[in-house]
Amino acid sequence: MDYLLTDEQIEIKNLARKIAEEKIKPIREEYDKTGEFPREIIKYLKEADLCGVYIPEEYGGFGGGSMAMAIVTEELSRACGGIALAFAATGLGSYPILLHGNEEQKQTYLTKIASGEALAAFALTEAEAGSDVSNVRTIAKKEGDYYILNGTKQWITNGGEAEIYTVFALTDPDKGGARGMSAFIVEKGYEGFSFGKKEDKMGIRASATRELIFQDCKVPAKNLLGKEGRGFKIAMDTFDKSRPGVAAQAVGIAQGALEEAVKYAKQRKQFGEPISSFQGIQFILSQMATKIEAARALVYSVCRMIDAGVSDVSKESAMAKFFASEVAMEVTINAVQVLGGYGYMKEYPVEKMMRDAKITQIYEGTNQIQQLIIARHLIKEYR
């Protein structure tokens, strides 16, 4: 398949693949076992200038946009969906600044993210605010030149590891989350900002998922993103741009699983022949490959829409995330099936890929929420 990538995109893809093949593959099993954060890989991404591929050049990035983001995420995820997340979640944490930050905020924070000096994280989810984003309880009260934050965020990817956090809190609790929520940039090390429990997860185990605790945390007023009350809009705008990233992660995981399945099917002999010669296996492999291509085509289309400046990509973004993650789950389950008993064992990578794939159906909006978004657009479009 020719994806009609530009020369620059091909270079980005080759470079990300080199890191995935040479640096990530040899260690992914160990990191999955220990749950250690992949600092070493971040160092390689930094050296290779890949941390800022999606960030505009004026802030020290490469200016490759969503497409570059998707290409890197996909290639890293092809080797390990968990390790790739340190990069992808930094993208999610950066988008609120990229989309709604003022010039000073962009210069201060995006440059650090682009250079690889800092990782970012996106902090919205709370115990009572998952799919129901507006049910956020964290409060930000203005006192002089500061906002005082109180509350707890849950399941924050890159929590504890990132230096820069975009945090959503209520500035006007009476108005509720939809109109009374605001977004802030919070730096690691601010007084009153600490980290709680680190989660023990089914998959993406090399990623850090942690609680953020704000106890009278003093955040400078200049760290408010946009205006007070714009938090919900900032979160939704972010998701529109970030969901193709999750979709790319899903495509990468699925691609990795397909490659393992084909390789195994060609080697494994039963009844005197490689199992790849049996139609039962061939049909499974064909379906895996076709669905991955369809998912990838959708992801790339949405990224190209975003990079071309199309204003509303909400529906397409949701479609990409929904479809690609469903494909990733199905493909990884089938990869385990093709490898049979070996696929179920930890010495082969496909069981890990199956565990890693599951989260893509859940985070950054469950696939049920994605379908609601799609349906709402459809109802509006077809009057």
Binding site: D7, E8, E11, I12, L15, K18, I19, Y44, E47, A48, D49, L50, V53, F62
Partner: protein
């Protein structure tokens, strides 16, 4: 710091190489070419010296025009300039003629403090070209360097890996070093340098560009003659001794005494 010159060689990727069983020679057609892996350590060390002491890193190679690809790869790692010595007259050079030709290229670049080579190339395994260049330039050499301890305005202290240990050697500059893989971990290319490399055109010098004497180059300048290439016959006679450990040890000891 003046120029830091790194000599590199393009070699066939030996993980892909097959031997022609009729002729016992390497089948080179269709085999991807790579930078000799030991030379990547030389490039990395050159870049590290530059980062610490300043200067400019220049890679030089000799070979057919296709070597340009390897030179561009060096640029993608952060090297400043790349020079290719390429001319039909250079074809057929052995290590002596190659050392001479490279030394003439280096003289043309001029103004250098340190020349770095990989300890040997993975295709020929001779480890002769680095030392040969130093001889033609009449400068000191430190081979098998595993660590550079210190560089001053006019001297260098380096650790040299030997079979029995480490030699610590101080030399004046300019100097030629050959490096072993223990010296560093080569970096990955960066995106910015890759984009630079895409557009980069290495400088190409031919026979007429160099102050060079014809009898010493190419096939005429190469005293080495390859008479025959063959895989050595391995004829080890082995004997299995079975039994209880005590017995086996005794039998073995008796055999060793003879």
């Amino acid at each position: 710091m003046k120029n830091i010159i790194v000599c590199i060689k393009q070699v066939p990727d030996t993980t892909e190489v097959r031997i022609d069983s009729n002729t016992n020679t390497l089948i080179r057609e269709g085999i991807p070419c790579i930078i000799n892996p030991f030379d990547l350590y030389a490039i990395e060390e050159g870049l590290r010296i530059k980062e610490k002491y300043g200067g400019k890193v220049i890679v030089i190679s000799m070979g057919p025009p296709q070597v340009v690809e390897s030179l561009k790869e060096a640029i993608s790692l952060g090297v400043d300039e790349a020079i290719l010595l390429s001319d039909r007259k250079f074809a057929g050079s052995d290590t002596l003629a190659t050392s001479y030709t490279l030394s003439r290229g280096i003289l043309k670049i001029g103004d250098y403090d340190i020349i770095i080579c990989g300890k040997q190339a993975i295709d020929g395994d001779t480890a002769q070209v680095g030392p040969g260049i130093a001889e033609f330039l009449n400068i000191p050499q430190i081979t098998y360097v595993r660590k550079i301890r210190e560089i001053t305005d006019n001297s260098i202290v380096a650790e040299r890996l030997t079979e029995t240990g480490i030699d610590v050697i101080k030399s004046k500059l300019p100097v030629l070093l050959t490096v072993v893989k223990e010296i560093n971990e080569p970096r990955l290319p960066s995106l910015k340098n890759k984009m630079k490399a895409k557009k980069y055109q290495p400088i190409i010098w031919g026979f007429n560009d160099l102050d060079i004497k014809e009898p010493y180059i190419g096939l005429d300048g190469s005293p080495t003659r390859v008479i025959k290439i063959f895989s050595p016959q391995i004829s080890v006679q082995s004997e299995m001794i079975n039994g209880e450990p005590d017995e086996v040890a005794k039998i073995l000891l008796d055999k060793l005494k003879i």
